[in-house]
Amino acid sequence: MENNEVLKKVDKNAFKRIGKNVEKMEAISRPNLTYWKDAWRRIKKNKAAFAGLIIIIVYVILAVFGPLISGYEYTQIDSSRMNQFVSKEHWFGTDELGRDLWTRVWRGARVSLLIGFISTILNTIIGGLVGGISGYYGGALDLVLMRIIDVLYGIPYLIVSILVMVVLGPGVSSLIIAMVIVGWIGTARFVRGEVLRLKEQDFVAAAKVLGVSDLPIIVKHILPNVMGLIITNLTMAVPKAIFNEAFLSYIGLGISPPECSWGVLAKSGVKMLRIYPYQLFIPSFFICTTMLALNLLGDGMRDALDPKLRGTE
């Protein structure tokens, strides 16, 4: 009875039939979460990876602007101010020729980061193309390419880089060439493996049945699926390339003075270690934190870009 009383008070006009609205039924109420948006969201949630990303961005900015704001040139020798410790004039001190270490560290960062990123990107492009073509088309081409890669893969990477450096002479471009000459092989191998696996999947078969030609299948169906792995691989390879540059410069083959890189700075730092340890500690700090940041970012990317983990926390 009481319910009826309540119902009488309610205005009947407030109720009306809505019926089916086909458009609204199909509408997506939340913003569409693409693969990349989801990956970015997960990177942001991963504190270590995000910190790594920020460190890299800060270093890149400093590499670009750092040498400009100190007021010194990286080649500027000052015999009255040799081996000075950190001070107001020289934020990181000076080296054995009186050159400002702050300027040299960021000049070195420019060279090291440039070599690291460019050689890795080139490796990825070449390796991705060779591996992709080999894996997708298969047959005799694949057989030949894979035999060549099998043989080349066994050749010690650093030894070939050393020899190439000796032939080409020191310099940024020869360093990049030395690293690319054998560096693409690893990428080619894993991209081929991935493509081989993907091309057997149902969605590729479906696309083929629908009459899609090869290029769109590669670009629209296979590439996006390999992309995550390629980018993860790329992030992991950058610290290795920076490391190799430092190694080659350290043994006297990479960059020649007056140009500098982190490897060159570490080399002269080790030489002065007994008397002026800060000359090793400062460049080492930046080498190590860069490696750390890139490794953390790479780990985070691997988790974020793994399609199997998508949507999970």
Partner: protein, 306 residues
Amino acid sequence: MGKYILKRLGISLLTLLVLITIVFILVRLMPGDPFASDKLTPEIRQNLERYYGFDKPIIVQYFTYIKNILNGDFGYSMKYINQSVNTIIADSFPYSFDLGMRGLSVSISLGLVLGIIAALNRGKTLDYMSVIIAIIGTSVPDFIIGGLLQYFFGIKWGLFPVAQYKGIEYTILPSIALGFYTLAMVSRIMRASMLEVVQQDYIKTAKSKGISNFRITAKHQIRNAIMPVVTVLGPTVASVLTGTFVVESIFAIPGMGKYYVQSVQNLDYSLILGMTVFYGAFLVLANMVVDILYGVIDPRIRVAGK
């Protein structure tokens, strides 16, 4: 199995041949001249070139070189007078081999222990400590680790000799510097693998049978978890080997790495060629042994390799 080994052997030999050819071509392309010196008259120069066979066509030089290598003869050094490449390698290789073996054994054994401890104490302080060690190991280059070890333990605190290689106390710092990266890698892989094995059914079976925790860990968990570590042994040998270049020059150890770097800087053609071929052969062989080892340990690889 025999077929698999044979195939692996064929690829290795081909790799070696390609390596020798690449090295030969690259060395001939190198700028500079090992006989560059004002003191040499043209006649002496010609004699030297004849002596080392540089007057013959390059193809003939190539085949002579291959023939000599097959006979185990790497020729004479062009900078160290009257020393054959063979004697230089024979003199210096034992140091590098000793150092490399110490570096490897230190890093693998400590890495395994660290990984096991970390996995057994998952989420506790010991686990975080092992993570920190792993992070340091993978992000600090070996020349920096070597320099820092030398500075603190050698110079500042005087606990170990600063340089050279004359006895057991001399070997400790270089071995750590050499093995740190591998230690970090092995501990990370072992930790991950231990944690994966814990979830397997056979561990549950063992538990339900009432076997003690210690025996489960020792006999079931560790034994199965060690497999993935074997897969990094190949790359590890390579990284330890190139690590010796740096570590030997920091600690003034008269090993092959030091000679190699010097020969590259001196443009000592025959020494570069000989040492590169030696290194290459060593690495190719090491990789082959590791690959065959996987085949023995894990039958799935053998099947996939066919």
